[in-house]
Subunit: 195 residues, 2 copies
């Protein structure tokens, strides 16, 4: 359909998450219609992000410095454990949290052949000893794998005398009971609180 | 929120059409999570498309050659006039069309201060004379500006003895009368055909 350089650019845009053929085409046309300078800067930004962004040596979050700003500035005795760096973005919107993070880079998943050694559990245990961690908050996703991973890690941590907590599960703020799925409702019922 | 190279890349992704903050962030994280090689190739594809893709000297479509494959191979006596190169992509899906195209790069729009000299009308007139064009099909969008532009061009072309046609307007295939807007219905009624 298109000349080769256009097809190739469309192909790269299509690899982005959630991008179909039509959207990729719109993106490619946008690049073509814009200035050469803008395209060059865009390309530079892509290369630069790969060159400069590493993983924080402490928590595994994306960082341009060896130790990320969060780990450098905050109380390391409270650690929130997440599956992916992008989860930190969401957690950071909760202004009241001022502990640090630990990225597992996945969950334990027998179905996908990922065992405890394939995610960053060893590193978490090492931190707990080294930094004298007092509380570990498990913020893995509320699904089968996330729950199982949280449970597995909690069993390893408890003998070390660390308090292990899990984000509360229940109905989301602003949602409708009518449209809430039964698993969530069941969990909310089980964990009901006296008011 | 993020380190500077990440923020910058998010900013570039946000400039793509229809991309908000959250989507741009997903795209940037995708680049970070992928291999360096892939990022470099992606960046190269962006720069290359600007270097290699020019406008066809005949029709104005995007092309890596001076004259695009469509203009090189087809009957130049039937010309379909479109607003933008991307409209050619849609027209080309109609397999029965085997004429060539002419891209106006916009419409006449007094509101946006675009007159007849700001779009490629002169170039169209020159082609009509040079190639002995027999029919010009106006495929500008079916809105006020597209209609006005089609009408303007048709008045210039008719004295030259060229047949000027306009894509039929009416209710779209597969649509519901119930949900069709009144302007479209009015047009469809005016242009009703005996069956």
């Amino acid at each position: 359909m298109f000349d080769e350089p256009i097809e190739r650019l469309i192909e790269y845009f299509r690899q982005l998450p959630g991008v179909g053929k039509k959207t990729a085409q719109r993106y490619a046309f946008f690049v073509i219609e814009n200035s050469k300078e803008k395209a060059e800067n865009f390309a530079k930004a892509i290369v630069e992000v790969k060159e400069k962004v590493k993983l924080c040596a402490v928590c595994g979050n994306y960082s341009t410095t060896e130790i990320c700003p969060i780990c450098s500035a905050r109380n390391r005795q409270i650690v929130c454990v997440v599956q992916e760096p992008k989860d930190i973005v969401s957690m950071e919107k909760v202004k009241s949290y001022n502990g640090v993070y630990h990225v597992l880079f996945g969950t334990i998943s027998p179905l996908e052949n990922r065992g405890p050694n394939d995610i960053k559990i060893k590193e978490l245990l090492a931190r707990v000893e080294k930094d004298g961690v007092k509380e570990v908050i498990m913020a893995t996703n509320p699904d089968v794998e996330g729950d199982a991973t949280a449970m597995y890690i909690s069993r390893l941590l408890k003998p070390l005398g660390v308090k292990v907590t899990r984000l509360a599960q229940g109905i989301a703020m602003g949602s409708d009971i009518e449209f809430t799925d039964e698993v969530t409702l069941e969990r909310a019922l089980e964990q009901r609180k006296e008011i």
